[in-house]
């Protein structure tokens, strides 16, 4: 699980009103720890009697670094005091009010909307239909912004034949499916890169599409390849960033006159999204970053 770090929401199967928030690079292993299958690894708070087994109902992934995931987790666990939720918007104002699922989801949404985590373009994956319904119910009336992707897979993969059900309960199969798809996506990208680079001979020069300068793979620069199908545009990461920032700023300025919101938008260092130079398709910056890391690893 390279570079994978996620925050998760646990729900007790025995007591469905009990939840637990945590973060981990390996949810399956972590779930086993929670359920008591693996003894090493803590999870004391979930080892209480009568609460096991647990299942993971919600995963937030796409964190660019471990620290950011930890920050997110801490903020989610302490929504009444975190600085990422402004006082106006707070749902939970003290320790006692953040335990219900609605509040937890509401706080999650608030965090996802916060400026800090917005830039990371996190992704959400839901495993449980009821949680999803609550999400849609949106009791706290918070709408999240567009660049957060939500996926779900509510199927319960009950593998009766599989003797590897370590413990009763725990949605290990769902998690496995999730990771399958996740890795599939990754592999798809890797294959694409390999294709491209294999097709290149030594002599062919790569040119950054934006700055139209030589692009040296071997150098330490980071590059990006558009991750959509059929588009093989390559560019410097930085060039792309600047390009995105410019376009975004322009858009903002154009909108300002009609802007209902008085709030001045600060200049951004990190773009959130943009359009590919060649194919024009929508690109999310966080994905671009992760892909460029992959490229760096491959070469």
């Amino acid at each position: 699980m390279n570079n994978f770090y996620c925050c998760y929401l646990l729900q007790s199967i025995e007591k469905p009103k009990s939840f637990y928030i945590g973060s981990t690079p390996d949810p399956i292993r972590r779930l086993r720890q929670h359920n008591g299958d693996l003894k090493q690894g803590g999870a004391f708070k979930t080892s209480k009697k009568g609460f096991r087994p647990w299942k993971i109902v919600l995963i937030i992934y796409g964190f660019p670094s471990k620290i950011s995931a930890l920050m997110f987790e801490h903020a989610w666990q302490h929504p009444y005091q975190t600085r990422h939720i402004s006082k106006d918007l707070k749902i939970s104002k003290n320790k006692q009010t953040h335990y219900s699922i609605h509040n937890r989801l509401g706080n999650l949404k608030l965090l996802l909307n916060s400026n800090f985590f917005l830039k990371m373009s996190l992704k959400l994956f839901l495993f449980d239909k009821k949680i999803y319904e609550n999400w849609c119910l949106n009791k706290a009336c918070i709408n999240i912004k567009d660049n957060i992707m939500i996926n779900s897979n509510f199927q319960n993969f009950q593998d009766s034949e599989n003797s590897q059900e370590f413990i009763k309960g725990g949605n290990y199969n769902q998690l496995k499916e999730f990771f399958k798809s996740y890795n599939d996506n990754k592999n798809f990208y890797i294959e694409k890169i390999e294709k491209i680079f294999s097709s290149l001979s030594i002599n062919t020069k790569l040119i950054c599409q934006i700055c139209i300068q030589h692009l040296d793979i071997n150098a330490n620069l980071l590059i990006n390849i558009c991750y959509h199908e059929n588009c093989e545009s390559i560019c410097h990461l930085k060039c792309l960033a600047l390009f995105f920032l410019k376009t975004n700023n322009n858009n903002n300025n154009n909108n300002n006159n009609n802007n209902l919101n008085h709030k001045k938008e600060f200049k951004n260092l990190i773009p959130i999204c943009g359009n590919c130079v060649t194919c024009g398709k929508f690109l999310l910056w966080s994905i671009i970053v992760s892909n460029s890391k992959i490229i760096k690893e491959c070469f």
Partner: protein, 954 residues
């Protein structure tokens, strides 16, 4: 005390007590022991003294525990020692004996009794085993469990190959167990024949003797049972039924699972006459005839009391109405407690509102008393009142109150009854069906006409309601209509009418409606008697039908305006009337502002007809603080934030008025100062405007009828505040001559001053965009920046600490305790920001609002300044970062960055800002910053991912 002696069981002197008592006894015993010990210590002394060997007084004496001591050491002769030891032993023995004796008190615990007598289960005779088992069952109360356990034990024992006899016994026991459960079918056949294990014969006879003594007059039944038992006892000596009979005890303790037909008839006093109608309605009035049917299918014979009652004498004697409303219907109209339903046609015609719960003509005393009863009747309450008196069958749809009431009290239910709800039943015999249907109508009647509280109580099961037929009847009020089948055809009306009309409708109908529920409040009365405002309450309640209150909207508005206390609690929702918004509570600034604009504009227009108006718009920021009348060359005209207090406004109003008056009187000038968010003149009552210091723009209009006022030439007035260094607004009057403009003022200290600011003069610090006035602009632009800075700096230091703080707040900076620090921060930030930009920002925002003409949240003055300061600072930092490419790249890659490194960077660039502001910046930009020291050369933290799984445990 525990139970009395049970005759014939064990020793007559034995008593059985609870374990609690036993424990107490133990405690007491322990105490007694201690006491004894203490006494004995005393006695020891005496004893020793008596038998003591003469001791030299010099050395020997008694020490602790009675031992001889010599100078602190214990000295004893060996002989003495022996003696002592022997004595001790004796004492111990005595103790033991006494304890034993004590341990056999008259009071004996059950456990001890049982264990002593029955401890060896299978070694003893089967009889004792039987007794043990029966006692166990008796005491445990869980017969079946005990049976199971015993069976298992026996099975185990049986398997292990015990002696044949015992095995037989056990098997028979097992078999008998099985038989037992089936035997419950026939109560008569039951194990009376099988021995009563609980008692031995002797015991039983003793019991009977004592019973006969104590209860000489036994009923036949009981005598019978006793005799039966005795016979069974005598007969069953030889039978070895281990676990078969549970004795009378258990039989009596548990209800029989199934009752035979005879039992039921006996139990429920059924007769054979029931209508099939009742049954088709689903009412559970079962007959003995029905009993003959399959027991298990239709009706559960084990049922609640309410079900039982429905079929009992209670029901039999009353001819039940078919249309009983049991529970779960949708909301029904409330019962008129005021008995208006009552019976006679005259009453039917009554349309007047009737007061609740008061004596009503034609009401009986009984009715009033019954009303009280009604209030107590819940769905769960099935008070079985004697209805024998009551039920009269009425030929018409007249119901006597008493009947109705009492029959209502029956709460005759159905098996599907919702226990929480009530049902009413009015006794109508001839037209039962119609009434029932009528009820059904009522049920379908959207009881949204009812206030919410009632609807929750009443539910009639729709399942029992047969659909409305053409004969649907609702009782109408009109006397013309006789209570016959044809009379009540208002079903359609009822269902279709909107709420309010329903209410009115109810006036007529519900008086007579027999289907009122007991606990309901009559809405009519409440509605009618109540103020119109309350009606509007109804109209506004969420659960009621919408759209029905067109009639009353006006009322609502009126109410709103009047602001009656009756509706005080009632929230005025999104009402149309303008005035509502005036009264709306906080966060209505925007609306107010818009409205004020409108109104002021209206007023302006009005006035304009008469007079010539000149408008000048002054944009400024900051708070208005005070107005200084005296024209000065520099500055000093300051406004105060109007919005702060309502008193303020009133005063300003006054001031305005005064000014106006004066102006009228003197110059016949009307000067209206419009402020965007509040109109000085117009809304005297708009006291709800809250907070916000939002003055961003002041429109000043001058209206003059005459042209004598050269003063107010185009060179107008006032204006603005280019960003003042102080938090106060500096209103510099340009040039002229305008004597007075009305502005409110308020001091820092909060006192309001009414000052008219003069529009004289002089040079004003430059600021950018002001409407209308070129002069102003020119003048404004004339100042130098340097001068500004100097002035600012000077101003910083000249400000009091309080002012410094407010200034810092306005810029969104953190205040510190010492003045020096605050000064520093101010200076630093002032370097960073451009004052002109502040104002520009302001103006841009305002322009946007104006141009867009869309509702937008007006930012407070402070917020604006904060934002602008923030923005400027942040932009500078971003510029700085962008220059540093490596850093920028790391940020783009979402790498965590060391905070210290970042701070260094800022410091190098002479951007000295508070760390909190730095953190805010980082949050805003999505930069992850840590305080971790692990940095590489570039100052970027090394990635820690992946190698070791690191789970964050909570």
């Amino acid at each position: 005390m525990g139970e009395e002696e049970e005759c014939g069981i064990g020793d007559k002197n034995e008593l059985y007590i609870s374990t609690q008592f036993q424990s107490k006894l133990d405690e007491w015993e322990a105490e007694d022991d201690v006491k004894l010990k203490l006494q004995k210590f005393k006695n020891d002394d005496d004893y020793q003294e008596k038998n003591s060997v003469p001791i030299n007084s010099n050395s020997m004496r008694r020490g602790v525990y009675g031992r001889l001591e010599l100078g602190g050491t214990v000295v004893m002769d060996s002989r003495q020692r022996k003696e002592e030891e022997e004595e001790k032993k004796k004492k111990k023995k005595k103790k033991k004996n006494s304890e034993k004796q004590r341990k056999r008190p008259k009071i004996k615990s059950i456990t001890s009794h049982v264990t002593s007598n029955y401890s060896n289960f299978f070694n003893k005779s089967p009889e004792t085993a039987k007794r043990q088992i029966s006692i166990l069952k008796l005491l445990s109360g869980r017969k079946r469990k005990v049976n199971d356990i015993i069976r298992r034990i026996q099975a185990i024992e049986g398997d292990s190959g015990d002696s044949g006899a015992e095995g037989r016994d056990r098997k028979s026991a097992v078999d008998d167990d099985d038989d037992d459960e089936e035997e419950y079918d026939d109560y008569e056949d039951q194990d009376l024949d099988n021995s009563v294990v609980l008692y031995k014969e002797n015991e039983w006879f003793d019991i009977i003797k004592s019973i006969n003594l104590k209860f000489p007059n036994l009923s036949k039944a009981s005598k019978l049972t006793l005799s039966k038992i005795t016979t069974s006892l005598t007969n069953n000596e030889e039978k070895l039924n281990l676990a078969s009979s549970d004795g009378i005890w258990n039989i009596a303790a548990n209800p029989p699972v199934k009752l035979t037909k005879d039992e039921l008839t006996w139990l429920y006093d059924l007769d054979d006459y029931k209508n099939s109608d009742d049954f088709s309605n689903g009412k559970v009035c079962f007959n003995s005839s029905q009993l003959s049917n399959d027991d298990s299918e239709q009706l559960p014979f084990l049922m609640t009391l309410s079900q039982v009652l429905s079929g009992t004498d209670y029901g039999n004697k009353i001819t039940k109405p078919d249309w009983e409303i049991s529970d779960s219907s949708p909301e029904l109209s409330p019962l008129p407690m005021d008995n208006t339903i009552v019976t006679e046609d005259k009453q039917l015609s009554r349309t007047e509102p009737q007061v609740k719960n008061n004596t009503i003509p034609n009401s009986n005393k009984s009715s009033s008393s019954i009303i009280a009863d009604f209030s107590n009747v819940d769905g769960n309450d099935n008070k079985n009142r004697d209805t024998d008196d009551e039920i009269e069958e009425i030929s018409k749809y007249k119901f006597k109150l008493s009947q109705r009431n009492k029959s209502q009290l029956e709460t005759i239910g159905s098996s599907k009854k919702d226990p929480i709800t009530l049902d009413t039943s009015l006794v109508v015999t001839n037209n039962e069906e119609k009434l029932r249907q009528q009820n059904n109508d009522r049920m379908e009647d959207p009881c949204s006409s009812m206030p919410d509280r009632i609807s929750s109580k009443i539910q009639v099961p729709k399942s029992f309601v047969e659909p409305a037929s053409s004969d649907m009847n609702l009782i109408e009020s009109t006397s013309a209509k006789s209570p016959t089948n044809s009379s009540l055809n208002n079903h359609e009306i009822v269902t279709s009418s909107p709420v309010f009309s329903q209410l009115k409708f109810k006036k007529k109908n519900e008086l007579e409606n027999p289907n009122r529920f007991i606990n309901q409040v009559e809405p009519e009365n409440t509605n009618i008697v109540v103020l119109s405002s309350q009606e509007s309450d109804y109209g506004h309640s969420i659960n009621q039908l919408p759209g029905s209150f067109n009639e009353n909207e006006n009322e609502n508005e009126e109410v709103a305006e009047i602001d009656e206390p009756a509706t005080g609690s009632h929230v005025l929702t999104h009402k149309n009337s303008q005035e509502d918004t005036v009264y709306s509570t906080a966060n209505s600034d925007f609306f107010d502002s818009i409205k004020l604009q409108e109104e002021s504009s209206n007023l302006n227009e009005n006035r304009k007809r008469k007079k010539v108006t000149e408008t000048t718009r002054v944009e400024f920021k900051g708070k208005l603080k005070s107005l200084i009348k005296e024209p000065q060359e520099n500055v000093t005209v300051m406004f105060k934030n109007r919005k702060r207090k309502s008193s303020h406004r009133s005063e300003t109003n006054n001031s305005n008025n005064d000014n106006e008056q004066t102006k009228f009187s003197t110059t016949t000038k009307l000067i209206e100062v419009k402020k965007r968010k509040y109109d000085l003149d117009e809304i005297a009552n708009s006291s709800e405007d809250e907070e916000g210091e939002d003055i961003s723009v002041i429109e000043i209009t001058k209206v003059f009828e005459e042209t004598n006022h050269n003063d107010n030439s185009d060179d107008d007035n006032i204006i603005q505040v280019p960003s003042s260094q102080k938090s106060e607004i500096v209103f510099l009057s340009i040039a002229d001559k305008d004597p007075h403009e009305n502005v409110q003022s308020k001091n820092d200290s909060g006192k309001s001053k009414d000052e008219i600011y003069s529009t004289n003069n002089t040079a004003i610090e430059s600021s950018n965009n002001y409407t209308n006035q070129d002069n102003v602009n020119q003048q404004l632009n004339n100042t130098d920046d340097e001068e500004e800075e100097e002035e600012y700096e000077e101003n910083f230091e000249s400000l009091s600490t309080q002012d410094l703080r407010t200034k810092l707040n306005s810029w969104g900076l953190k205040t510190s305790k010492s003045r020096a620090k605050m000064l520093e921060t101010l200076k630093e930030t002032s370097k960073l920001i451009d004052q002109s930009q502040l104002s520009q920002f302001q103006q841009n925002n305002n322009k946007n609002t104006e141009s867009s003409q869309l509702p937008s949240l007006p930012l407070s003055q402070q917020e604006n300044s904060q934002l602008s300061v923030k923005g400027q600072i942040f932009d500078k930092i971003t510029d700085l970062v962008m220059k540093n490419e490596s850093l920028h790249l790391d940020i783009l890659m979402f790498k965590p960055i060391s905070l210290k490194y970042f701070q260094k960077l800022l410091a190098d660039a002479n951007i000295n800002i508070d760390i909190s502001l730095v953190k805010k910046y980082l949050d805003e930009q999505g930069i992850v910053a840590t305080e971790n020291e692990s940095v590489n050369k570039e100052g970027v933290e090394i990635d820690n991912d992946n190698d070791i799984p690191d789970d964050n445990s909570d």
